[in-house]
């Protein structure tokens, strides 16, 4: 591949690339939209979200990419990930090679059993959703809380507003709680 030029100048420094991956139905695309809206609300940065998914409504690999930059974002898809969230073993196996050296890896430690590195954050998002937040559906929002705690990509209050703006009526408390669970759980592990 493009050894000479990429080797010489590298991926643009002002790009931060995030991939949220899992299986269809885990809400990765929803989470990516909320995260983008929060970054947009916070202001000062450009953001692009793109997604790919199979024809199935449930199951099958699902991923959403977010590129954040203070400059104009030319290429809208990820080139080398700064952050990979993997909610399933299949997603981790598929996308781990796209993570850059020193990039941040976050996995659902309840569903992912084999991680090819020791440098990662493991939070049992799905188990926490079921046992502490009251519904398995908010595992994605718990993951957003964790991303918020582990990066400086967006402040928690703005992310909370963005989640609540998209949450169906009657689920506001559960979603708010989910964000806090993820945030606090990840903070404990933050290096």
């Amino acid at each position: 591949m493009a050894g000479k030029i990429i080797g010489k100048v590298g991926i643009p420094q002002d790009r931060f690339e995030i991939r949220l991956s899992g299986s269809g139905g885990q809400g990765m695309i929803f989470a990516s939209v909320v995260l983008c809206e929060a970054i947009g609300r916070a202001g000062g940065k450009n953001v692009v979200q793109s997604q790919s998914y199979g024809p199935e409504a449930r199951g099958g690999a699902s991923k959403a990419d977010i590129v954040v930059s203070t400059a104009e974002i030319y290429y809208p898809k990820a080139m080398k990930l700064d952050l990979l969230l993997a909610m399933t073993q299949e997603a981790l196996d598929k996308y781990y090679p796209d993570l850059k050296d020193g990039g941040m890896l976050i996995v659902d430690s309840g569903l992912v059993t084999e991680v090819p590195t020791e440098k990662y954050y493991g939070v049992p998002f799905t188990r926490l959703a079921r046992e502490e937040a009251g519904h398995i559906m908010v595992a994605n929002v718990i993951a957003l809380g964790a991303i918020c705690a582990l990066t400086d990509i967006v402040p928690l209050d703005i992310l909370t507003d963005a989640v609540l703006a998209r949450a169906p009526k009657g689920t506001e408390d559960r979603n708010k709680k989910a964000l806090e669970i993820g945030y606090n759980e990840a903070l404990k592990q933050k290096k």
Binding site: M1, A2, G3, K4, I5, I6, K8, V9, P12, V33, C36, E37, G40, N46, V47, V48, Q49, S50, Q51, S52, Y53, G54, P55, I73, Y74, Y75, P76, K77, M79
Partner: protein, 378 residues
């Protein structure tokens, strides 16, 4: 309703915002991936602003409906993808012949046939020029981001209204579905062109009159002007003709009303081209990759530029030749088996090397691929 002016939108959503800004008040369509969000949003938004949304039984009928509604005075649009665009072709030809303004959005996916519903492609580029039978001239516009889908959709409507012709807005699956923050335009921020209406008395009205710019004023059907609308080749009064002199005049009108304003219709974005020895030429979502690659190549010290085509048709050969006057090599990147590359070949002198950079496996061309090709030629 108070809406924030900066919103996270998909390209398909930006298209609807642009269309409504331009005055579109009638949408007829048959939903198809990856264009479905356009139909959904039109169904939600048009009734709130006094417009009409109708889901037709198929794409042939959708196209017929937007021609009919346009003849009745409305700005009209439909959206589809490859399979539907093929079905629409007969009535798109009817719109060319009857000189009816309307906008057809094609959010491109892989083909032929039902092909790849969720995968990106740019393989309808030539269909946008030659899709229906007969001699005519075509306008096609292609944005490359969610942000510029708003003004480019407005431009598509302005061109349709100004030249009394169907205009194809070529999106692709990547632009249609990706999301970016968009600042929605305020009233007055962009020019909105409305078709020229006749000033003659109804009894003196010549519906397809040869005006200096070849575009005839167009009344709405409810405004008291009576005229015949037919797909048969017609005389200035709108009635079918077999007279050799009138036939050629009609076809010259269809072609020249656009050709005579080619420079004005053409729009491109040239970046880093002033001293470029190698240029990328691209359009649609691929331009995002070419800009990225050119910018990385510049950082590495190579004289590389990028030309993005916002207007695909009419193709402006002279402008491309001028922009590439210092180039020894031009890499044409597109998501098909080679369509616009042949137009670029026609535009450039023989001593310029032309490299097609083609991808047709349902994925977008990456900056890495472009740089790899670049390294072969520098």
């Amino acid at each position: 309703m108070d809406r924030p002016t900066k919103r996270l939108l998909q390209g398909n959503g930006a298209c609807v915002e642009g269309a409504i800004y331009a005055g579109m008040r009638f949408y007829a369509g048959y939903p198809i991936t990856p264009s479905t969000e356009i139909a959904e949003l039109c169904a939600r938004q048009l009734p709130r602003i006094g417009g009409r949304f109708i889901q037709m039984e198929d794409e042939i009928a959708s196209m017929a409906a937007i021609v009919g509604a346009s003849v009745s005075g409305l700005k009209t649009m439909t959206a589809t993808s490859g399979p539907g665009y093929s079905l629409m072709q007969e009535n798109i030809g009817y719109a060319y012949m009857t000189e009816t303004p309307c906008v057809i959005v094609n959010v491109q996916r892989g083909g032929p046939s039902t092909g790849l519903p969720t995968k990106v492609s740019q393989s309808d580029t030539m269909q946008a020029r030659w899709g229906t039978h007969g001699d005519y001239n075509a306008i096609a516009v292609a944005p490359s981001s969610v942000g510029d889908t708003v003004p480019e959709t407005i431009r598509a409507f302005n061109l349709a209204e100004r030249f009394r012709t169907p205009v194809t807005l070529l999106l692709d699956e990547v632009i249609g579905h990706m999301r970016e923050m968009v600042t929605l335009p305020q009233p007055g921020e962009y020019e909105v062109f409305n078709r020229v209406k006749p000033t003659a008395r109804p009894e003196d009205f010549v519906p397809f009159e040869l005006t200096p710019n070849l575009v005839s004023p167009m009344p709405a059907y409810r405004e008291g002007y009576r005229y015949n609308v037919t797909g048969l080749t017609h005389d200035p009064m709108g009635f079918a003709t077999n007279r050799a002199d009138e036939i050629a005049v009609k076809l010259d009108k269809l072609t020249n009303k656009i050709d005579n304003f080619k420079e004005e219709i053409f729009k491109s974005r040239a970046e880093m081209m002033d001293d470029a020895e190698v240029a990328f030429v691209s359009y649609g979502s691929v331009s995002r990759a070419t800009l990225q690659a050119a910018s990385l190549a510049r950082q590495a010290g190579f004289k590389v530029g990028s030309i993005q085509l916002y207007t695909i048709w009419p193709f402006d050969y002279d402008t491309i030749r001028k922009l590439c006057s210092r180039c020894r090599c031009v890499i044409v990147a597109e998501l098909n088996m080679g369509q616009i590359v042949h137009e670029v070949e026609k535009a450039l002198p023989e001593n310029v090397e032309i490299q097609p950079m083609l991808r047709y496996d349902g994925e977008i061309i990456t900056p890495e691929q472009l740089l790899a090709r670049l390294e072969e030629v520098i």
